[in-house]
């Protein structure tokens, strides 16, 4: 047992730190730290900075222009970038589609799409879920019918995160009704500018429209946009999901959320004393910090195993459950910490440079917003209930 990082890993951490100190625009880190709304341009700006350094394809091998980092290096990078309040790397092209194309895509698809992901030509979104297919993803109904050198796509996707920014969507579509539901699914790449594609925003309970509905009405998609083989999409989809669940523990996010909570609890006064000294509140904060400390090590244990070549299986389900519960508890405590100022909802104040001042302290509005927004953590990417099913089946064999 050795809980310390190697000298190489420490040197790597220093390198990441000085890169961030030099290259991360303060304008962006201020926005992230202040809980402000990020625009498409903000994400693109940060992606371009990382790409220039060769650090955008964090999970990619070197041959495709990635970093070739192992799991520990990726973890160090995650930790440092969240600590520095960098915008997150939007995962759809980089962490989801990229790995699928590398493993199952044609040479042409790889040569065309992978560089475009890195240099920001394409913004991808994920078209898996449908109104009737959530946890039961294999029941997707959107159809793709082959007609000559095209597929004709009809159906509806939903919950498409940041689909309003995207020009490309990767979809699970039904190409056959024979056999088990998993067997007739294909993995298709669709240009969202094609006639027949409609995007409608969905406003969530935090007042933001980060997700969308996407409709396909007789959309003509070139057959070469099929990834791998027809009716084998389920295999690729599952492969993608294991990648979707990388960094699922969100230790970096939880750590910075916790320090934000402590800062707020130090500023808020309760009964004439800082809230951080209130025994009831302090106990809950300590409890979640203790959980997070163990969680960080559980995460590292999985990462070490992955770095040693053991693909994480159902362990990622444990990380997802525990990680999301911890983050949600920190969010709940932060909302609680701001007291009555949790109630005002002046959403314009989330825009950079808005000439609307917040009501009460500037940390109050983002506190309530993150609390409501992060209810999603235990729902998406496979709900926590579904993760428990996976654990009980795969590990406990129940």
């Amino acid at each position: 047992m050795d809980l310390t990082y190697t000298d190489d890993q420490k040197a790597f951490r220093d390198e990441v730190r000085s890169f961030l100190a030099e290259k991360l625009p303060k304008r962006l880190s201020d926005k992230v730290a202040g809980g402000k709304r990020l625009t498409k341009e903000d994400y693109e700006e940060w992606h371009a900075i990382l790409n220039e350094k060769g650090w955008l394809g964090v999970t990619w091998p070197k041959e495709h222009g990635g970093t070739g980092w192992d799991a520990v290096e990726r973890h160090i990078f995650e930790e440092e970038t969240t600590r520095a309040a960098a915008p997150r790397i939007v995962p759809f092209g980089l962490n989801m589609l990229g790995p699928v194309l590398m493993k199952f895509g044609s040479k042409e698809q790889q040569a065309h799409y992978l560089p475009r992901i890195l240099n920001g030509d394409d913004w991808w979104c994920q078209g898996y879920s449908e109104p009737g297919a959530g946890s039961d993803l294999a029941s997707v109904k959107t159809t793709a019918v082959r007609e000559g050198d095209h597929y004709i796509v009809n159906g509806q996707k939903t919950w498409t995160t940041l689909g309003q920014y995207a020009n490309m969507i990767f979809c699970l579509v039904r190409t056959s009704k024979d056999g088990k539901p998993q067997e007739g699914i294909s993995f298709l790449l669709i240009d969202m500018d094609t006639p027949g594609v409609t995007v409608r925003p969905i406003v969530l309970i935090d007042g933001e429209a980060e997700v969308n509905e996407v409709w396909f009405e007789d959309v003509k998609v070139p057959a070469e946009n099929l990834v791998g083989e027809e009716n084998k999409g389920w295999t690729y989809a599952k492969y993608l999901l294991t990648h979707e669940r990388t960094n699922i523990a969100g230790v970096g996010f939880a750590t910075s959320a916790l320090s934000n909570l402590k800062r707020i609890a130090g500023l808020e006064q309760s009964g004439g004393k800082p809230l951080i000294e209130n025994p009831f509140f302090a106990a809950k904060m300590a409890q979640v910090e203790i959980d997070l400390m163990a969680m960080a090590t559980t995460n590292l244990r999985t990462i070490a195993a992955a770095a040693a070549g053991n693909a994480p299986g159902a362990e990622s389900s444990m990380l997802k459950i525990k990680g999301t519960v911890i983050r949600q508890e920190i969010n709940a405590l932060t909302r609680q910490a701001v007291g009555p100022y949790a109630m005002p909802f002046v959403s314009e104040a989330l825009d950079e440079g808005a000439n609307v001042s917040p009501v009460g302290p500037d940390y109050a509005l983002p506190a309530t917003q993150s609390y409501f927004n992060n209810r999603k953590l235990s729902i998406y990417g496979g709900s926590n209930e579904v993760q428990r099913q996976i654990i009980s089946k795969a590990i406990l064999e129940l």
Partner: protein
């Protein structure tokens, strides 16, 4: 023991429930949320026509109720419908304080309140958090009357109030119970300004700034410096009211969620057939029944001696906070993605329920207070 409502209250409940069911749709609530006034004029008119505000006042004050169970019946229905009308501000807080302490001349306003005039209680302050005794706003006696200066925060429905009951310090330090006075201040008084904004969970509130606001001597409500006991009592009644409102919210959320569990199919069957969800929904139900009992406990002790009353205030508010969080979070989770949307009715109800914990003291505040009051 008899936990049945009296015939009058049963009629009030039935009438209110029917009226709200017929007149309040999710679309109407969204429209009220987005409106400039932050409430629905039509519903407010409907409620005043039914005489609902009168149920919050005793017969002596011109109403026909005023007891704890009258409050709980009315507010449970408000919660059930998810409405956000200025009932609490006008009927329980500002109106309640005028009824408790006002002169005969001031009490004449209660008739107008019952008829729909909106008042609000400007009490909370930036550094007070949930401490009712923390008042920094100052009132100084002058030849003509009083001059008020200070800032009041998150004052419910401030922008549509015709007048405010304002708490201000006429003696003592920021956290003293002694030395707090109440004043009746018209909304258009010179030096009074309002920053109006929307609230999470619906409705609007405002930051009310008093910059040397001058009011005549007869604007003082009750005796100078002696208002705290009645403020605490009004807060107890308001806590009973919003606890009942929270209960109503929980009831509607439960109905929606059970309905969804029966109807939503995944893996070829209703998700309500999964034991993982059945057990959790059963826990939600148990906590809602606990919440109902807690509301009854408080409503039944509002007129008890202070020590007993306040112990129930803190017990009830703590339990409501815990149950409310469980019900809101579990219902969203069990709905999946749809539970996260603004458009679907659950979102508004769950948010409103969550916000109850930020009014009149949260779970921790009341846990600590309960322990203190129990030791005394």
């Amino acid at each position: 023991m008899n936990f049945d409502l009296t015939e009058e209250r049963q009629m009030l409940q039935d009438g209110l429930r029917r009226y709200l069911r017929e007149n309040v749709t999710p679309e109407a609530l969204n429209a009220a949320t987005d409106s400039q006034t932050g409430h629905s004029e039509a519903v407010w008119e409907g409620l005043t026509e039914m005489g609902v505000i009168g149920a919050l006042f005793s017969e002596d004050d011109g109403g026909f109720g005023g007891a704890g169970f009258d409050l709980s019946v009315v507010f449970e229905e408000m919660g059930r419908a998810g409405v956000f009308e200025p009932l609490l501000e006008t009927g329980v807080l500002a109106g309640g304080l005028i009824a408790a302490l006002g002169s005969d001349a001031q009490k004449e306003m209660i008739e107008e309140i019952i008829a729909g005039k909106v008042l609000s209680f400007a009490h909370g302050e930036p550094r007070a958090r949930y401490d009712l005794n923390h008042v920094e706003t100052k009132a100084e006696q002058t030849a003509e009357g009083w001059t008020l200066s200070g800032t009041k925060t998150v004052v419910g429905h401030a922008a549509i109030a015709d007048a405010f009951v304002v708490s201000a310090r006429t003696a003592g330090d920021a956290a003293d119970e002694d030395g707090i006075s109440l004043f009746l201040v018209p909304a258009d008084a010179e030096g009074l300004s309002i920053r109006d904004y929307p609230m999470n969970g619906g409705g609007r509130a405002g930051e009310v700034t008093l910059d040397g606001v001058t009011v005549p001597a007869d604007a003082l409500i009750g005796e100078a410096g002696k208002a705290f006991p009645e403020i605490e009592k009004a807060a107890a009644r308001a806590t009973a009211a919003i606890s009942a409102e929270a209960l109503g919210l929980m009831e509607t959320i439960r109905e929606l969620t059970v309905g969804y569990l029966q109807q939503r199919k995944q893996f070829g069957k209703p998700i309500g057939k999964f034991q993982a969800l059945q057990h959790r929904m059963a826990d939600v139900l148990i906590e809602i029944e606990q919440a109902r009992s807690a509301v009854i406990n408080l409503a039944g002790h509002l007129d008890s001696p202070r020590a007993e009353r306040e112990r129930h205030v803190s017990a009830t508010k703590n339990l409501i906070g815990r149950a409310g969080r469980l019900v809101a979070e579990e219902s969203i989770q069990m709905h999946g993605g749809i539970g996260m949307t603004q458009e679907y009715a659950l979102g508004h109800l769950a948010k409103r329920l969550t916000m109850v914990d930020h009014r009149f003291g949260d779970t921790d505040f009341h846990l600590e207070r309960f322990i203190r009051l129990s030791a005394a």
